[in-house]
């Protein structure tokens, strides 16, 4: 009888054990980190999972961007523009993939060509027509269909990481034991979390940590709680409401929350009413009130825009009905929308608020069904190129022109910036073009966001890359 019960208990235990992901040994120098988004596409680099690969130090790109958006060497040591449409990259020697094979120009070329053939083509190289070939053991030649001065910056996109040739099978790609980064991904069983081990053959010195334990927790307050309970050492994207009991590094992001006004139809076809919106909102109060000081009041679409001297028009609305939409995926936006709606009511608008998940909002958004949208948009995705961002969002042919402005003078200004080769000159020209955008009042910038990386006191050497591509590096350590 006793035996039977014991057997039964053992059977039940082993059954339930099968339902859990299995415990992991935690050595002293392992870093435990929690991220919000579980991989959606089996860690294929060609979608959002690409950033997970680079943030965790599994895979690397040929080029990285520094804080100013300038391209810097990573897996490529140097590069030159051989002709308007051809670039020559010198691939770093002595780099090994996690499976032991060496990084060659041929491997890098294959990785780029595979990404260029992915469905859909990663945004960074969409419409660019990238093709790559090896010109020597470590000499890589990348060409584009049309002249493209920002190709090196494009190659910093996390979608374009270089994986071992063995990672690419048919149309699929698997980063398991295939990256060049300081940490190795052992398998694709990552829904509950991942256990990364140190890559002793890392080209930039042996990593300081012995490994990384990752878990994915969708709720921001739960991530903060896990950090406070000492279950993890690093928690990314801590919500502002959870900052009270957490040590966090604040990273200013190239991301702006703005009111986008639909200029294609009344009431915001009328520039006076757009001016009324600009004069109604108070970016400083939003940054201090809704964001509790963890955001920066915006003077332009881009950070570092000089404040404009404008004489108020004093325009008010006469009871025009507008719908003001935003999405709930970013926790502060619903608060912003309510505060802005109140300000607009004060200016004489009759405001109906719409708050949905982004996926539920987007079809109506693209169809132009809202008069105004509070939009949080990164202006430096992929290449960090401001000119490309302006072109996408505000030119007549722009692919994401939600405000529906179409002004030949504006297009000319953006076109001038796009034509420049030098990174600094491009930036200056983009800032000039931005002035023309702001004068339309089609976009009313509110705040620039920051991201909060919570960490325990023992952690040092986390990357505070504003492009959010890096987090854990070979230099990250636990004291």
């Amino acid at each position: 009888m006793l035996l039977r019960r014991t057997l039964l208990a053992a059977a039940v235990l082993s059954l339930t054990a099968g339902c859990f992901a299995g415990s992991q040994a935690e050595g002293p120098a392992r870093l435990r980190v929690t991220l919000p988004f579980a991989p959606v596409q089996s860690l294929s680099p060609w979608g959002d999972d690409g950033v997970t690969l680079t943030r965790l130090g599994i895979a690397e790109t040929l080029v990285r961007l520094d804080a100013d958006g300038k391209p810097q060497p990573l897996l490529a040591e140097s590069w030159t523009r051989k002709s308007p449409t051809t670039w020559s990259f010198r691939v770093r020697g002595g780099v090994k993939f996690h499976d032991g094979t060496a990084l060659t120009a041929a491997a890098a070329a294959d990785a780029l060509n595979r990404a260029a053939a992915a469905s859909p083509v990663p945004r960074a190289i969409k419409g660019v027509g990238v093709s790559a070939k090896a010109a020597g053991d470590l000499d890589l030649e990348v060409s584009t269909v049309a002249p493209d001065p920002t190709l090196p910056q494009r190659l910093s996109s996390a979608n374009l990481v270089v994986l071992s040739p063995a990672a690419y099978q048919g149309e699929r790609v698997s980063p398991v034991k295939a990256g060049t980064g300081p940490f190795v991904l052992p398998d694709l069983n990552v829904t509950a979390g991942a256990t990364l081990s140190r890559f002793d053959g890392y080209w930039d010195g042996v990593p300081a940590l012995s490994g990384v334990d990752v878990r994915f927790v969708p709720d921001g307050n739960t991530r903060a709680a896990a950090l406070r309970a000492g279950e993890v050492d690093v928690a990314t994207t801590v919500p502002i409401s959870g900052l009270a009991n957490v040590t966090a590094a604040e990273v200013p992001l190239p991301r702006t929350v703005s009111v986008l006004l639909n200029t294609a139809k009344p009431p915001f076809a009328d520039p006076r009413l757009r001016a009324a919106v600009r004069e109604a909102v108070d970016p400083a109060a939003l940054a201090k009130g809704v964001y509790e000081g963890h955001a920066d009041p915006a003077t332009g679409v881009f950070r570092g825009t000089a404040p404009r001297q404008i004489t108020p028009t004093g325009a008010t609305a006469g009871g025009q009905k507008i719908t003001l939409a935003t999405w709930s995926d970013r926790p502060e936006l619903p608060g912003v929308v309510t505060a802005v709606a109140e300000s607009l009511r004060g200016k004489g608008f009759e405001v109906e608020q719409v708050v949905r998940k982004y996926s539920q909002l987007e079809p109506d958004l693209l169809a132009g069904n809202f008069d105004a949208v509070i939009f949080s948009r990164s202006y430096a995705m992929d290449s960090g190129d401001l000119a490309a961002n302006l072109s996408l969002d505000f030119s007549c042919s722009g692919g994401f022109n939600l405000v529906k402005v179409c002004d030949p003078a504006l297009d000319t200004a953006i076109g001038q910036a796009l034509a420049l080769d030098d990174v600094t000159a491009r930036r200056t020209a983009s800032m000039r073009a931005q002035d023309a955008v702001l004068t339309t009042n089609a976009v009313v910038p509110l705040v620039h966001e920051r991201t909060m990386i919570g960490r325990s006191g023992a952690v040092s050497g986390l990357s505070t890359d504003p492009y959010e591509r890096l987090l854990i590096t070979g230099k990250t350590r636990m004291s």
Binding site: T34, A192, V217, D219, N221, G289, V290, P331, L366
Partner: protein, 562 residues
């Protein structure tokens, strides 16, 4: 043959729920692209590329054909978002949800036992079994995410006893199962309380006592009699926790089936949605079948032979909590706060604690909470009551009419409201109507199953045999015997779920259905307040208290209704 028919119904429902958005003309390519890359501009080229990859160009009916063909061979296809076979993530999620649900069922049973234990013992001793419906109503009104978050902060963060999130061993399942099981147990307690009261009031009990049966024998017999109703509800509640635990799963980062289903539905990942729906429907059907079997086993041949003895319908002795107290509380709060301004934002007065100027404090945008609670009262209460009444009507029609509809009840019961809502919204468009339809479409199931088991027992009762022998018409029996016996417990069962219905209605807001900010709907107030529950508890405490009061009032009112 019946099994085959049911299987066909199952597959049809699965296919329809997954494909409705497509039939209604929503482009899944956009949603799939969004799920893969959150920030990417949806250019035509990318959309076309996704469409080609997923084979969407053939239209929804070709998809349906392909899916059914494969599903009949046991192949559930590959996820549109990840490109991986559906079976792997589905299997893992089922494993997690089975464990979580089993533990939550244990918690629910413990809570139920704690709540009905004393009245049961008192009732056995022949004393007036004053119910603890009040306490049960309080527990049933607490939102799962609120219980979860508070447990997380107290037990995991402050005390450090249990892990906050994730899923590695049984310790990770404890807090989520308490959050899930407590309200479920409270709902069961209301059902069990009614069943026990009827059982101890039945005439046979007196004969047995007179005949000198031991207290233990009698208690077991009462339990067996009452258990026949409770087991059915238990099955329904457990199946519900299995499929719709998404909110709790998000709070604790548990990779369960509910979350998988909701995420997939939002991403329009049709193969995953269909696989989840299929599993949830099968579980619901199994739970329903087990419930029915348990009823048959517990009652034995008496059920079909018309040999059951049940108490004559009689007024319920209400507990100490009268209707006056909750009603007075709500009315006075409304009268107090209705004159105040619920909308004006004051960013310099954020999260102020209760004071003379703001008796309930202010919320994260500096709005007066008393005003918001008061202004939200009417809308919340009327809407939730309306849906609950609708649910009761459907439940009675289906439950009393017979078995056929109840199989459907077992099926839909466990579906996550969000998944149903997305299908409804796709066809009926956004708005309140869709929200009401979506919530009612799922919420009618538990009371309907309850009504069915009660009606079945009434029909199997000896006094009906007598009535029939005296020439009573079916209609007479239905109206004078079955309905009066079925209605009160079903009413209480439905009304104890009223706060949950209010929350479900509010939770659909982010799909574009139902309440939108800045409306002070109570469910919205709670959701808005949750992030600040630790540093400014009042933003959650007062709306939660309001909801609890509403729930208690509803249960008491339902007991009085006769």
């Amino acid at each position: 043959m019946r099994v085959l028919g049911r299987l066909c119904a199952l597959l049809a429902l699965t296919a329809v729920i997954g494909l409705l958005p497509l039939v209604a003309g929503r482009d899944p390519a956009l949603a799939v692209l969004r799920a893969r890359s959150a920030d990417r501009e949806p250019d035509a080229e990318a959309i076309a590329s996704v469409r080609r990859e997923l084979g969407l160009d053939g239209g929804p009916f070709e998809l349906l054909g392909r899916w059914s063909g494969r599903a009949l061979h046991g192949d559930l296809g590959t996820s549109w978002v990840s490109g991986e076979p559906v079976t792997a993530p589905l299997g893992a999620a089922i494993g997690v949800s089975v464990t979580l649900t089993a533990l939550a069922a244990v918690v629910a049973l413990l809570v139920m036992t704690a709540l009905v234990g004393r009245p049961f013992v008192l009732g056995l001793r022949g004393r007036s079994p004053s119910s603890r419906a009040g306490l049960a109503a309080v527990l049933a009104a607490l939102p799962e995410f609120l219980i979860g978050s508070v447990l997380l902060l107290v037990v995991s963060v402050r005390l450090g006893w249990l892990p906050t999130s994730g899923w590695r061993d049984l310790s990770y399942a404890v807090l989520p199962s308490i959050a899930l099981g407590t309200p479920a147990g409270a709902v069961l307690a209301v059902v069990a309380g009614d069943a026990l009261r009827d059982a101890v009031a039945a005439p046979w009990l007196r004969s047995w006592t007179a005949a000198g049966f031991g207290a233990r024998t009698i208690a077991l017999a009462v339990l067996r009699r009452a258990g026949s109703v409770v087991t059915g509800q238990l099955g329904i509640v457990v199946a519900g926790m299995f499929g719709s635990a998404a909110t709790v799963e998000v709070v604790f980062g548990v990779p369960g089936l509910g979350r998988l289903a909701v995420d997939a539905a939002l991403a329009q990942d049709v193969p995953v949605v269909q696989a989840c729906v299929l599993v949830i429907l099968l579980t619901g059907a199994a739970a329903g079948a087990i419930g029915a079997l348990a009823q048959r086993l517990l009652l034995g041949p008496a059920l079909t032979d018309g040999a059951l003895e049940s108490a004559a319908p009689r007024p319920v002795v209400s507990g100490r909590l009268g209707l006056v107290l909750p009603a007075a509380a709500v009315v006075s709060v409304v009268l107090w706060g209705i004159w105040r301004d619920p909308f004006t934002v004051d960013l310099s007065a954020r999260l102020l604690p209760p004071s003379a100027a703001h008796p309930m404090g202010t919320d994260a945008l500096g709005r007066d909470l008393l005003a918001r609670v008061a202004h939200g009262a009417l809308h919340t209460a009327v809407l939730a009551t309306g849906v609950t009444v609708l649910v009761v009507v459907i439940a009675l029609l289906v439950g009393i009419a017979g078995r056929r509809g109840s199989a459907a009840a077992d099926l839909v019961n466990a579906l996550p409201t969000v998944v149903v809502a997305l299908a409804v919204a796709a066809t009926a468009g956004p708005g309140w109507t869709s929200a009401v339809i979506a919530v009612a479409a799922v919420a009618w199931a538990p009371p309907a199953a309850h009504a069915r088991s009660l009606a079945l027992e009434q029909r199997g009762s000896a006094h009906l045999t007598a009535a029939r022998a005296l020439g009573a018409s079916t209609r007479h029996i239905l109206l004078r015997h079955v309905l009066p016996a079925v209605l009160p417990p079903v009413l209480r069962n439905a009304f104890v779920r009223l706060p949950a219905i209010a929350l479900a209605l509010a939770s659909l807001g982010y799909l574009g259905l139902g309440a939108q900010p800045p409306e002070p709907e109570w469910g919205l107030l709670l959701a808005e307040g949750m992030p600040n529950v630790e540093r400014a508890p009042w933003v959650v405490v007062f709306p939660a208290a309001a909801l609890v009061t509403l729930g208690v009032g509803a249960v008491v009112a339902a007991s009085r209704m006769r």
